[in-house]
């Protein structure tokens, strides 16, 4: 469904992404993990059009979409929920969610239908409809952000650190929504610092380091990889030679997507 090949991108001077290869198959949940500064969020920004790649290819169903404007990417069915809160704080919750349907604003019936669907899936939209978005808690805002991106009924949702700043209850809610969306046929690509949570709900895992993809595989394989366990999950150290990083030294074109056999 989505393919990134040797994507290079950055802000101003240096390149944050230094040749990223990544694939997302239809109806999967892919979780990108990695240390701070690995370029995880930047991957989402180049896909959603907020940042143009300087080199490489981004394809959706085989068609190049790299460097297109955010509204065009949205029209193609890719919606992003960014890391920093992206709501309009002085607008009501309902207005915020309606703004998610900005591109279908001329079709009032469709807009109404979508709003009804979103309200059914995420009750907070109806319960807090008149409240200012700026007055919601972190978890509630996250839900409204997800609700807003659902207004265009996207095929692929990009979620940047959905767990950021959430309490356990908020976390569980977000995880449940991601799972439900995926069950309903939506493909999800998420970036997560909380490796345990991210790989727990994902079907596939991607490990990034230094602007490159170091390892891909099923979520279980990535999670169970001894070095990942030691680095992120407090597991036991691995023997030299078992390092997943050695897998990454192979040519980028072999870097498997979620559909490829686990390499971990």
């Amino acid at each position: 469904m989505l393919q990134l090949k040797a994507v290079v991108a950055g802000y101003g001077g240096g390149s944050v992404l230094q040749g990223v290869d990544l694939e997302c198959a239809e109806r999967t949940i892919t979780c990108v993990v990695g240390p701070n500064g690995a370029g995880k969020s930047t991957v989402l920004r180049v896909i959603s059009g907020l940042l143009a790649p300087t080199q490489g290819e981004i394809r959706l169903d085989g068609e190049p979409i790299g460097g297109r404007a955010p509204d065009e990417i949205l029209r193609r069915g890719i919606a992003q929920v960014p890391q920093s809160h992206a709501l309009f704080p002085a607008m009501s919750v309902q207005e915020n969610v309606l703004m998610g349907g900005y591109l279908i604003r001329k079709d009032r019936r469709l807009l109404r239908e979508r709003l009804d669907q979103v309200e059914q899936r995420l009750p907070i939209v109806a319960d807090r409809a008149r409240d200012h978005a700026g007055n919601l808690s972190g978890g509630q805002r996250r839900m409204v952000e997800i609700a807003r991106c659902l207004m265009l009924d996207p095929r692929l949702i990009l979620l940047d650190e959905p767990s950021l700043g959430l309490d356990p209850r908020g976390l569980a809610g977000v995880a449940e929504v991601i799972h439900e969306l995926n069950q309903a046929g939506t493909t999800v690509l998420l970036v997560e610092q909380n490796v345990r949570l991210g790989l727990g709900i994902a079907t596939h895992g991607v490990v990034m380091e230094g602007g490159r993809v170091r390892l891909t595989g099923t979520a279980a394989a990535v999670r169970d990889n001894p070095e990942i366990a030691s680095l992120y999950l407090g597991g036991s150290p691995t023997k030299a030679g078992d390092s997943p990083w050695t897998n990454a030294s192979r040519p980028p074109s072999h870097t498997g997507g979620p559909g490829s056999p686990p390499t971990a």
């Binding site: 992003q80 992206a86 607008m91 900005y102 972190g138 991106c149």
Partner: protein
Amino acid sequence: MAHLVQAIALGLLIGGVYALMASGLTLIFGVMQIINVAQGAFLVLVAMVTWWLWNRTGIDPIVASLVTTPMMFGLGWLTFRLLISRIRGSSPSMSVLLTFGLALVIEGVLNLTAGNKFKSATPAYFEESFRVASISFPKAQVFGFVAAVGVLGVLYYVLNRTWTGRAIRAATQNPAGAALVGVSAAGTAALAFAIGSATAGVGGSILSVLYPFFPASHYEWISRLLGIVVLGGLGSLPGAVAGAVILGLAETLTATYGSLGWSTLVFYLVIMAVLLVRPQGLFGARLREDAA
């Protein structure tokens, strides 16, 4: 007591007109963090065009805003596309330099074409007043106020009840969030600049009746308008209305109980006092860092 009521009535009438004049400045700042120092020159340009139309054709100056408003919408759009868009992303100080340059160009052109003399449109009702009990409401002020409030009402409706307005507000509150829902940053900014300039279309026509003006009057106007929007909170429309009403009342109350010469000074003292307590202005937003 009658003096007080009279001063308040006049202050509110003038405040309404100031609010319209300042609304464009605050709208443009709110959406694109650009301080349009040329807004004062836009007002004087429109006043000059209005005066010329009134002088040549006899058309009522306030009715002439039906011509000057679309004219300023177009001029604003062109200004954005040709000039402002080139400095997008630069610091706000760049916009001050650029629009100040634009103001000087407008002043120079007006000096060359219209001459450096005070002008004022004086329609038949210029010296007439409506009287309610012992309070007199000068007709020119009343008509100007009605036009200003009408335009502010339309602006409020557009901003709050239309998709165009929602897009502008969204871009004001969170530009990155607006881009993510498909709002074009450049398109919204051009539209906001054009709408902000169009408010000078009505404001300038009203100005031509209420105040004598000449090409360099724009310095006085921009300092007044900046005072209003800073007092109200840069980028806030309700703030601009509040700041404008305070300026109107400060002027008329000082003129009634003190002297006309002190009226502007009192307004700036009010600004200083308010900013000491609320540095973000009366309605300026100080959001939680994680709110947007």
